[in-house]
Symmetry: C2
Subunit: 491 residues, 2 copies
């Protein structure tokens, strides 16, 4: 295991925090609750953005940008919405500073108080639906399929890098439709996109489902989500897609003339994933040696490290390395040749291992003689010596294997940490001592959900979309239940 890295066993939360910082992903800033995303972490986020953006555009969405500020009064328009966000709003009250009279520095200029306070967007439904009112008159203006990449602020008391920060980066889609069916179809289409992204790119298996009323988005009719299981047995909500019904259209008076020439309220969806995905990515695959990245999201997929003790050998190794590098680049593989002489090979091995580079190629004097290279996989930590012939093909194949292996590993971890439970004692035991997803019957009431949460800190993560009706009795109240739902403690 890596030096100075707390192990998962010792303290999972500490392991995560140490890992994020030591792998140069992010760090806490001078502003409470706000993080700095460092270049290595940001490079991963940029890859994520690129993939998701393409998926959105391929399904007809376009990007736009709406203001950072929301007038306070907009919040009150949708009752559930304001209830959900009022307690975590950063509020702008003034627009000027001035020199303190006593020369001690700058102070807020009380003459520059805003007539109406502005909220930093915690999410943009209100400002966007206020804007849509002018954009939508007729069914011809629909659907409106818009996404925004932006920063948002939700004031948090306890923060954790990527997982819960007062400011975070995200995308938020806001679509408008002529009828309920089309809006629900959009909600589910996006849920599929999120699922595909999580599983194919992040190598992270997720459960698709719907939230219980307690857990749904403030202002939504239904919240759909993808839910993943982390190595400590806690669940992480990785993305949400909301069917908003006509709630925001009514709150902001957005009506359209239908094909039948009737004035109707517009149907809405909203959906988002955030830099929280970075936390999920890190926690899903990494180990006590540091970060483990799926090749498809790695800023460096292959690193080549030369091992030499004289200039002549270095020259020959370099030739070979550059040859491999260009062969891999021709296949679109991101490869770095680390030819720095200020660091030793052993240091470099540890460094790239810690940073989760999927594949390391080492080339030493013996490899020159034998026309070989040594290849080390980050996921299994296995090494093998490969003949140079066809090396680009072999590397590409290995990267695919690593991607597949990470998914399989995460999938089987989830499988072996998912329990069907029918007694309250067993439920408590698993939640408290093992963690994982617990499939159990629930009577469908908010009250029961609340009491289970109070007693065990477990919440309903999702009501699975693909589960069959299975009559049973609520694990807590004994009342009838129509299907099992997924409980877990969660991030």
């Amino acid at each position: 295991m890596a030096k100075n890295l707390t192990t998962r066993q010792e303290n999972y939360a500490q392991w995560y925090n140490d890992l994020v910082i030591r792998a140069d992903m992010a760090e806490n800033s001078a502003v409470r609750g706000c993080m700095v995303i460092k270049p290595y972490g940001y490079a991963i986020w940029e890859i994520m953005q690129g993939v998701l953006d393409k998926m959105f555009k391929d399904t007809g969405h376009v990007n736009a940008y709406f203001p950072l500020f929301i007038p306070k009064s907009f919040f009150s328009r949708e009752a559930d919405h304001v209830e959900g966000f009022a307690k975590e709003c950063a509020v702008v009250t003034h627009y000027r500073l001035k020199n303190a009279a006593d020369g001690s520095g700058v102070v807020v200029d009380e003459d520059a108080r805003l007539e109406e306070e502005l909220i930093i967007r915690p999410t943009s439904e209100t400002i966007i639906w206020d804007t849509y009112r002018n954009w939508i008159q007729s069914y011809r203006d629909l659907p409106l399929l818009i996404n925004q990449w932006a920063n948002v602020v939700r004031w948090e008391m306890r923060t954790r890098l990527f997982l819960r920060t007062s400011e975070f980066l995200w995308q938020e889609g806001h679509t408008a439709h002529a009828n309920r069916e089309e809006a629900i179809e959009e909600t589910l289409k996006i849920l599929d996109i999120y699922t595909e992204f999580a599983e194919k790119w992040m190598a992270l298996p997720v459960l698709k489902g719907i939230k219980s009323p307690n857990e749904k988005f403030a202002g939504a009719v239904d919240t759909y989500c993808i839910e993943a299981l982390m190595q400590d047995g806690k669940a992480l909500q990785a993305g949400t897609s909301h069917f908003l019904g006509q709630n925001f259209a009514k709150a902001f008076d957005v009506q359209f003339l239908s094909r039948e020439n009737k004035l109707e309220y517009v149907w809405a969806t909203s959906w988002g994933v955030s830099t929280r995905l970075m936390g999920a990515l890190i926690m899903a695959h990494s180990d006590d040696n540091g970060l483990v990245l799926p090749p498809k999201l790695a800023p460096i997929q292959v690193v080549i490290v030369p091992i030499y003790n004289n200039e002549e050998t270095f020259k020959k190794i370099s030739e070979k390395a550059l040859q491999i590098q260009s062969a891999l680049q021709a296949r679109g593989i991101k490869v770095k040749f680390d030819d720095r002489d200020t660091y030793k090979p052993g240091w470099k091995f540890t460094e790239y291992e810690f940073k989760g580079v999927p594949l390391r190629i080492a080339i030493g004097p013996r490899d020159l003689q034998n026309n070989t290279v040594e290849v080390a996989r980050r996921d299994t930590l296995e090494k093998e010596v490969l003949q140079m012939a066809d090396i680009d093909n072999k590397v590409e194949h290995l990267l695919q294997q690593i991607q597949d292996n990470l998914f399989r590993k995460a999938y089987s971890f989830r499988e072996s940490n998912t329990y069907k439970v029918d007694s309250w004692d067993e439920f408590r035991d698993i939640i408290e001592n093992k963690g994982g997803f617990v499939l159990a019957h629930w009577d469908g009431t908010a009250e029961t959900e609340e009491r289970i949460k109070d007693e065990t800190k477990a919440t309903i993560r999702t009501i699975p979309l693909d589960s069959r009706p299975e009559p049973g009795k609520c694990i807590f109240s004994g009342q009838p239940s129509r299907q099992r739902v997924v409980f877990a403690r969660a991030y």
Copy 2:
């Protein structure tokens, strides 16, 4: 000219505003001074971002993300900096809302007042240099070449879409170097990147130069800039690159151990371009028929419009259109086939003309017979009938011609609106009645610059980098001058 569009002659400012709104680029939001960037405008911004981002990365820069908030006390650390920005700061004072006691809605919760107010970043030097302190210990940590894509807020009383808004989008580069020479080299390298972007991509000729002390960035030693001339004879600062010396390193105590094992303050640069470039792009080329876009930044480079009066003809035209479309796409040309039957060809012609699509291809029944298409250029409004053979090659060539022509036109406009002036009367006359760039002698004092501004509203836009020393007398004070500088009224 386009219906309902004010002409440039009538009212240039109104023409600009109408154009931005009617071309679906942007609009004012419900929040004073903040704009909504609409999908068509944002698509252009995304292309700009992509090109610039690649240029930065190709020169060794990486992206990162720093907090939106800056503690108020950070501002006071660099005296010029706080002086420059204090009057336009949006200030966060509270972090929670609550229900009003009288049930009238939500109000700011006075119990949730921040100990220290937070400023929404107007620019990020202070928070970034506070962070760099922990990242830089030795010369081995240098240079640090970091860029950030972000939103910033500078509270403005009079705003104009894209040109001056309270919130805007931009990139801000912040680099750290071991010595003065390297930092200056970086400042100039970025100025070259901005110049190349303006001229090769935006088709916008710019003057490269240095700002007078009055006009430089608050906290900089020297501010370099690119300056463009708009059609109304006013100048527009399109990008700035600052050599910050050791000012911020000293303010935030960022020292490093040099190769010679001495503790030294780090040298800095910062540089940025913003959504203001969108304003420059629009004003530089557009006309009384609407937007004119250089092909390299157009979201739609070619639009194909079918002209038909029966289904059979439409089918044949479609076949041909799709054939052209895929031939153009194979060359990387962005082409749209507008086959909607809800709009007439004439309406479509006007629409795409207004939105500045560089090339329009119309296909009618006669074109089917003759194996031709009709091609119309947006820049010259010229039409010609082309044989289908080799059409992709012809279109690609035409797009390049349009790109070149727009640059040439803007260049010759600037040339014919640049004046060498040696008398104060002539200076005033040109500034007040003609506009344009005025090359005149200046005695080098802030006082003279200020008085010229008071009397004519003209400022020194730039002290050109490539001009030769030319002794003369200040146009205002008669004092000796070493070279001419560029005066203009400016956006």
